[in-house]
Amino acid sequence: MQLRKNLFAGTVGIIVVGAIIGVLASLLQKLGNPGNMGICVACFDRDIAGALGLHRADVVQYLRPEIIGFILGSFVSALLFREFKPRAGSAPLARFILGMCAMIGALVFLGCPWRVILRLAGGDGNALFGLLGLITGIGIGVVFFKQGYSLGRTGKQTYGLGLLMPLIALGLLVLRIVFDQIPGDPKSGVLFYSVKGPGSQHAALFISLGIGLLVGVLAQRSRFCTMGAIRDMILFRQTHLMLGFLTLFIFALLANLYFGQFHPGFVNQPVAHTQSFWNFSGMLVAGLAFALAGGCPGRQLFMSGEGDGDAAIFVLGMIVGAAFAHNWGLASSPAGIGPHGMAAVIVCLLVCLFIGITNTKK
């Protein structure tokens, strides 16, 4: 049987998707999201952990509708295009731990690969060190893959198991709607809200949700992956995903210039610190963890919407990792790295290397 043609899987498709995401991310900042954080999967997962009370850092608590939209948008797209395939069983514990490590590394840098791009597009020079760290971490991951690294095969699951993550997203959306924010109040029902700091800065609920849904659909169709973009360049010299990565940067930059959101420099950048070595190291750990788990944090969300239970486990690992990062002082702040940030980077790097080495054939 001939293939159903997927327009978004081609060169034009990935470029268009990168451009749309770049503009939407910049627009979200204009509409209320924190600076250079129109979309940041790690930050938003961390905010969700805070909203649920898994950590109590009161400046980063908000149940971000974009994340819900990513999962549900991908889910709807996968259903429509007959790509909803419940699957799981490929080293779930390793994936959970990789998710934790990825999040802890990302929070030392203060952003995921998506935010690396957006911080650069906003003129934040510190993100250059994050980008170098990301490339290095993914490069180490590529070495493992070349040596035969694998977390093993996934297996088919029941339809109901595939629905679990979309249902979790739906449940979170219900909570967000039922327990809407009360202005000036740090709690509404079971949910925590920030009244100051990045967690208090957000676009309106249905704008965030709508954009999240649209990005979820587009990314599911195009297989958009920021980690994969760098990995495929190093591993196969393939530029396909990199075109999306670069277009996201260019269009976010252009939109930032248009909205007056481009402020080049290193100091006083929004939700960023200037400790270059730790910006580099944090993203090195995150990049390695994303590479070993087979997708950037956005891609993991999109795959979880397609019924991939292993990706869902990774996402849950990220949320738990965020809780540890803030409860234990591992996460950075604009003042610099947390009191135990250095130890966290070293331990997480060792954990990732352990998983890499012990799952490599050669």
């Binding site: 001939q2 997927n6 699957r87 490929s90 996934t154 088919k156 990995r231 495929d232 396909h240």
Partner: protein, 71 residues
């Protein structure tokens, strides 16, 4: 048809890695690649085409695809 790469159940980038490894070993001829999702189907087809191979046929089975590559 003796050359078959079974990439079912493997996540990115392993289907492409296994396929490219087999194709470089073969140099030319025919090779079938089994995958179980559209993403791997697209990635394997794109990578093989970039290496000068042609996607002869794609056969859709129950929860899997068989990609026949030729050079």
């Amino acid at each position: 048809m003796s050359e078959v790469v079974d990439a079912r159940g493997l996540s990115c980038p392993q289907p492409v890695l296994l396929t490219l490894s087999k194709l470089s070993e073969l140099n030319d001829g025919e090779c079938a690649v089994l995958v179980d999702n559209e993403v791997s189907l697209e990635n394997v087809s794109r990578a093989a085409t970039n290496k000068g191979w042609t996607v002869q046929t794609v056969t859709e089975g129950i929860d899997e695809y068989k990609i026949l590559l030729k050079k």
